[in-house]
């Protein structure tokens, strides 16, 4: 990474640290959701296994998506406040500006994933996964973080205002709810079920669920990585194209 990227990264870190709402959304919200689902609703769902074991992979996905709106807002305000013109006149590269955001988003997300897994253990989560399974889980999660971060950066760049940038990530945040995160897809109604089965987050969740269960599914894992690669490419290309057009 170039010196400029590191400088921008440091700046974005300070932003995150000084914006408690960001940290709340990214780290605490998923935990609140998890407590709500596990304690209040969990017993009402029959998913075949202990609910905390079923729900944790889905909650990890929530931890990924809940932090995204902050990134979109940050990226957009860089574009709309005039700061970007200063950076351009100083010849700061596109890579440095965008990479800084992606890396900070990923690190923040990995932090909230660690937090939610910690809480899950506290709530009685007992995965059967071995070392290799965990390594694979981490690999998939990093890929998912990378993909959603680039997509979010693109969404933030494409939005006209800071407010609409925040809103643009709402579909991403809602997506886990329409997947097998909370309840299995086959328990859902017509239409929603098909959507849940074929949307990108379901294979991500199912592959993690399988790995944590000690029963990995090669199909889901391949599908998950495929989706991540696809989303990352779309996000990256879109982000770079929008950046070029905007500035």
């Amino acid at each position: 990474m170039s010196a400029d990227s590191l400088t921008m990264l440091r700046r974005n870190f300070k932003h995150t640290a000084r914006n408690p709402v960001t940290v709340f959304n990214a780290v605490l919200m998923p935990i609140v959701m998890m407590l709500m689902f596990v304690y209040i609703l969990g017993n009402a769902f029959s998913v075949g296994v202990k609910y905390i074991d079923y729900a944790t992979p889905g909650m990890i996905l929530l931890a990924i998506t809940y932090g995204l709106s902050a990134t979109a807002t940050e990226v957009n305000s860089d574009m709309t406040t005039g700061l970007i013109n200063r950076l351009r006149v100083m010849d700061v590269s596109r890579g440095a500006v965008l990479t800084g955001h992606v890396v900070v988003t990923m690190l923040r997300t990995l932090l909230s994933i660690a937090a939610i897994i910690g809480v899950a253990f506290g709530l009685g989560f007992r995965p059967a996964a071995g070392f290799g399974d965990w390594a694979a889980v981490i690999g998939i999660l990093v890929a998912a973080c990378f993909a959603t971060s680039w997509l979010t950066v693109a969404l933030g760049l494409a939005a006209k205002t800071v407010q609409s940038a925040g809103l643009a990530t709402v579909p991403l945040i809602m997506l886990p709810f329409f997947s097998s995160a909370i309840v299995p897809a086959d328990k859902m109604g017509q239409g929603v079920r098909q959507f849940a089965e074929y949307q990108p987050f379901t294979p991500v969740i199912e592959s993690i669920r399988g790995l944590l269960d000690g029963a990995p599914s090669a199909g889901y894992t391949a599908a998950a990585l495929g989706w991540c690669a696809g989303i990352a490419i779309v996000g990256y290309v879109w982000a770079v194209a929008t950046f070029r057009k905007r500035v």
Partner: protein, 313 residues
């Protein structure tokens, strides 16, 4: 080209069928203040964006610090500093961190940057608030910080796009003093403003931009002289004297109440000499002589055919 900090010719820019710049020619000598004056929407910011490599012109050429803005963007960017219309500061960083960010991105070494930052904070009277987040700064403080950030790395040419718009009169004066200080150090300044008195106060040369065209260029005095309405006012001790003078200058207007005579003229030294010569020739004694030139508001009205849409302070 060696004496021009900025030289542009025939700059054009259009968005769709809306022409924003319609053939702009500029020449700004090194070490001077050039002011581009015009109402909102005249094309000032577009001109700045083209000259600072942020925007490509559709046609025409521009050289900044001797480099072509279209093909040598890196060299141009290395020579310039830009303070845009909206303070490009980072709200979630402190004043000092903002300056540090710029210093890091300009690859100023850590020891050097520490000194530069301390100096700039001092110079812009921001030392006390250096550790506070910029989100708590007033508008005037933001502008000052913005300009301080522009100065990191000592750019030879500084573009200031409406640096005082929205500032209170005191902050404006502070800003003017800062600009004067920069010029004294040999920096070239390209300043856009919609305030006539600002251009009058700061600029060596002014160009009036209206609807994408330069309608006039010159020193503030030259511009004022282009406008009809300049006159020399002569005051006399007696009606007798006034009568005599009125016969000598038949196209002058009398002001009997004040025993004064308004002689139209361009206010230039030559016409003044001629006037004095004639007074001498006819042995008329004037008590008092004053040259009245229209202010830039009059100039703007006369040159563009419409009033400056913004209230000048």
């Amino acid at each position: 080209m060696s004496n021009s900090a900025i030289a542009a010719s025939g700059l054009r820019k259009a968005y769709g069928d809306k022409v924003v710049l319609d053939g702009i020619d500029l020449d700004v000598p090194v070490g001077t203040v050039f002011s581009l004056l015009g109402p909102n929407g005249a094309g000032k910011t577009t001109t700045v964006n083209v000259l600072t490599t942020l925007l490509k012109a559709d046609a025409g050429t521009a050289f900044v610090a001797g480099h072509d803005v279209a093909t040598e963007t890196k060299a141009v960017r290395a020579a310039i500093g830009v303070t845009g219309q909206f303070a490009a500061v980072d709200e979630l960083l402190s004043g000092q961190e903002n300056l540090q960010l710029v210093a890091d991105l300009k690859h100023v070494g850590p020891r050097m940057s520490k000194r530069i930052i301390t100096d700039l904070l001092e110079r812009f009277d921001l030392t006390e608030s250096a550790q506070k987040l910029v989100s708590t700064y007033s508008g005037g403080m933001r502008r000052k910080l913005d300009l301080a950030m522009t100065l990191v790395g000592n750019p030879q040419i500084i573009f200031l796009d409406e640096p005082t718009t929205g500032l209170d009169p005191r902050s404006r004066r502070t800003m003017w003093d800062i600009v004067r200080g920069l010029v004294a150090d040999g920096t070239t300044i390209f300043l856009t403003t919609q305030y006539l008195d600002e251009a009058d106060q700061l600029a060596n040369r002014i160009a009036v931009l209206d609807q994408g065209r330069l309608v006039a260029q010159g020193t503030p005095e030259e511009l004022k002289r282009q406008v009809p309405g300049s006159h020399v006012r002569l005051r006399f001790a007696s009606v007798h004297e006034l009568d005599a003078a009125a016969r000598v200058f038949p196209d002058a207007t009398r002001d009997d109440e004040n025993l004064a005579l308004r002689v139209p003229g361009d206010g230039g030294v030559k016409s003044l000499q001629a006037l004095l010569g004639r007074l001498n020739e006819y042995s008329i004694d004037a008590e008092e002589l004053s040259v009245h030139t229209p202010d830039l508001d009059d100039v703007f009205l006369a040159l563009t055919g419409h009033a400056n849409t913004e209230v000048s302070a």
